[in-house]
Symmetry: C2
Subunit: 132 residues, 2 copies
């Protein structure tokens, strides 16, 4: 399926701008990126796009499941008085966090930590949303 069809299938009009972004992102090679990364990439290919359009576009793509947004990376720092290793439910409807006791989660298998690095804590985030 080509990118135009992917956009159509997702319910998005395949505009010129969305196609540029789809061509960069949906080629099958996975990557992490920010809105600014993407703008730089677009600029260095001789094209240009308003940063507002890039944000609009990424939000639409995310809402359609074409891409993901890593973690609940809100722009507000949330602090926690619980300094023991523990985990969280994230209520995606409200942004509220609920503690999960460490021993309510059992990680049987973890990947190897890359060479030269130390494990500095494991956080499990279970995203939940209201049943409809």
């Amino acid at each position: 399926m080509n990118n135009k069809e992917k956009l159509r299938k997702a319910g998005l009009r395949p505009t010129k701008q969305r196609m540029i972004i789809a061509d960069i992102l949906l080629g099958g090679i996975n990557r992490h990126f920010t809105a600014e990364n993407l703008q730089n990439e677009i600029n260095s290919s001789g094209k240009s796009m308003s940063i507002a359009t890039i944000y609009n576009c990424l939000k639409k793509f995310r809402n359609c499941g074409l891409i993901k947004q890593v973690e609940s990376s809100k722009d507000t720092a949330i602090f926690d008085t619980n300094i023991n290793q523990h985990h969280h439910f994230l209520n995606e409807d409200t942004g509220e966090l609920i503690d999960i006791e460490n021993d309510a989660v059992n990680l049987r298998k973890l990947p190897e930590i890359p060479q030269g690095y130390l494990n500095n804590g494991v956080e499990v985030l279970i995203k939940i949303k209201k049943q409809i």
Copy 2:
């Protein structure tokens, strides 16, 4: 141990402002909060504190391990073209994310999802840092 001693032990001068915050946070009841939450609470007790001081203070408390900061909540949204459930290493020195295949992690036990809610995805974040 009282809060003054806790601050001393953490290597922090027990200033008036730090004591106000310690009295709110270190009473033993765990909670999540933002800098703004805390300022509102301070204000409504008739006291006041500069937002810069609150941020300074929370950063010091966090660096001393008196409180935690939830997730790597940077203020930049990171997107991911990998829409399958998977996990990440977070390089805390650089902010870089590295994918972990879903089947490299095995969650033996998960807590019950709260009544009326649906599990909308589980993300495991393994924080790593350079060995020194």
